[in-house]
């Protein structure tokens, strides 16, 4: 191991080789102590006014405040700081949750996956036991009464569930806790008997009727809509009106409800081009009267694209002179129509 100093001034810098021994660095605010064996740092202790961190490579890292151990992490023997498999790898005390504090224990499976997380309040009540193999998560208040019920796959990782819960926000940002696309949530009031929030998420988007902080709300593919629109029969909707909705996300939601095939079945259309992933370039008759058609186009060319992440169908309007699916798609990226015809295009390295 080499100890090197910089910025001390000409001729004052330090350069020393340490094979065995200890190094102590004293600062006004920090005291650091390193133990070196065969040129490798095996132990490192740094102490400030409030806390002391001890790091033993291949063994553990411990943070102490006063006489209390606040956090412990255990490492795999033979490694520097790889977290220990097949058992407890992290223990933290004084973690805040639901206006109280508690102890957190995290376990790793023998395969190295985040397997289990247990949170216990200071009064001994268990807040939650989250496991990799369970499809539900129940979080309780310090009083032992139910708080949040989640149905779906919970994501366990290095950041604890207690740390990811945004309790300052009414929304709680529960999407940060979930791994899957579809899940359901129920939040109870402090008495534990009254439901204040309940709803389903489909394809990572709020769907259907939601109760949010005691108020009923309605969602269509993540877009908040009126109750009337939610309960309306999509068979009665005019396809032309749906296609002229200016907001692409709302248009997509209405299309999802109505069904793309059903929409095309209701209007005169012609498929100009299509590709393997389900994308199409379609021309439809706008059904406008001659008077209206003086201002607006009588035919519309639509590009049906499928989102690679959500598999949702979006329909975008493209210029009437576009002839192929690829050209239409390239046009939506901002390329000039003339340049596209001359061969200009974007090669998408990654799409999500």
């Amino acid at each position: 191991m080499y100890v090197v100093s910089r910025y001390a001034g000409w001729g004052r810098n330090l350069w020393a080789c340490v094979d065995h021994g200890t190094i102590t660095i004293d600062d006004r605010k920090k005291h650091m102590h390193l133990r070196v064996v065969s040129g490798v740092v095996v132990e490192q202790t740094s102490r400030t006014k409030d806390e002391c961190t001890t790091l033993r490579y291949g063994r553990h890292r411990k943070i102490q405040k006063g006489n209390k151990t606040v956090s412990e992490e255990y490492f795999e023997p033979g490694t520097l700081r790889a977290i220990r498999r097949g058992g407890l790898w992290k223990k933290e005390a004084g973690v805040p949750l639901c206006g109280s504090e508690g102890t957190l224990e995290c376990y790793l499976t023998s395969g190295g996956a985040y397997g289990k997380e247990i949170f216990k309040y200071a009064n001994g009540n268990i807040a939650y036991v989250a496991t990799r193999w369970k499809k539900t998560l129940e979080i309780r208040r310090p009083t032992g009464k139910p708080w949040i019920m989640l149905k779906g796959q919970v994501a366990l990782h290095w950041e604890s569930i207690a740390g990811r819960l945004d309790t300052d926000n009414d929304d709680l940002h529960l999407e940060h806790l979930m791994r899957g696309r579809d899940w359901e949530v129920t939040v109870y009031d402090p008495s534990g008997s009254k439901v204040i929030t309940h709803g389903c998420v489909q394809n990572r988007q709020k769907q259907g009727k939601w109760l949010e902080n005691g108020k009923e709300k309605y969602y269509m593919s993540g877009v908040k809509v009126s109750r009337r629109l939610h309960e309306d029969d999509p068979n009665k909707w005019s396809p032309h009106e749906v296609l002229r909705v200016p907001n692409a996300q709302l248009r997509c939601s209405l299309l999802n409800r109505m069904g793309y095939d059903r929409l095309l079945g209701k209007i005169e259309h012609r498929v100009i081009d299509q590709v393997d992933d389900g994308g199409q370039l379609v021309e439809i008759d706008t059904g406008l009267s001659d008077n209206a058609a003086a201002r607006l186009d009588k035919t519309m060319r639509l590009l049906k694209v499928v989102c690679p992440s959500t598999r949702q169908v979006y329909v975008l309007r493209v210029p009437p002179e576009t002839k192929t699916y690829d050209n239409a798609r390239q046009w939506t990226f901002g390329l000039r129509a003339g340049s596209i015809n001359e061969g200009a295009q974007f090669d998408l390295v990654r799409e999500t």
Partner: protein, 165 residues
């Protein structure tokens, strides 16, 4: 002595003026850039990330411009969905390693083969590899570089407008 000669030769070679004809004049290089038809890009939802080279950065944001073309944003939000409120956010591991710029209000000439830069388009300067996250779309990792972030557009009878989501 041998080494000294080698070093001097190497040094001379490195610093000498080119005695052969340069294959392109400055203008030709610009033409060569414009002739590049296929260019790499990344996409997340309605956003397209186009990596820029030094010349393109100069085209979009000239150093000797009489007025500022871009203004720095104090946020990491690239775009927020109007209907859903879902955001495309830039996440860098260290603070200050990703900078977002928005058009300062003036018309900005677009890249070769592309239309003018829109008001909702952004420029992203990534000093380290960054991730763009969104609640619905999978995160996309971008390498170090400068990107023009283009919002996908739609045709309108009157004019092509940017997608509203």
């Amino acid at each position: 002595m041998q080494e000294a000669i080698f070093l001097r030769t190497f040094w001379d070679f490195d610093s000498r003026e080119p005695d052969v004809d340069v294959p392109f004049e400055k203008g030709d290089l610009l033409m060569a850039t414009q002739d590049v038809k296929v260019r790499k890009a990344y996409r997340q939802g309605e956003l397209l990330f186009v990596p820029l080279d030094t010349e393109e950065m100069e085209t979009l944001n000239p150093k000797n411009a009489s007025y500022p073309r871009w203004k720095k944003l104090q946020t990491n939000v690239l775009r927020e969905g109007e209907a859903t409120g879902h955001k495309h956010e830039v996440v860098a591991e260290r603070a200050g390693m990703a900078t977002l710029l928005a058009p300062a209000g003036q018309l900005i000439q677009g890249l070769a083969n592309m239309d003018f830069v829109g008001n909702e388009d952004r420029m992203l300067v990534a000093d380290e590899p960054v991730e763009v996250v969104h609640p619905e779309h999978k995160p996309i990792r971008l390498p170090i570089g400068v990107f023009l972030v283009v919002v996908q557009r739609e045709y309108d009878e009157v004019k092509a407008r940017r997608i509203m989501d």
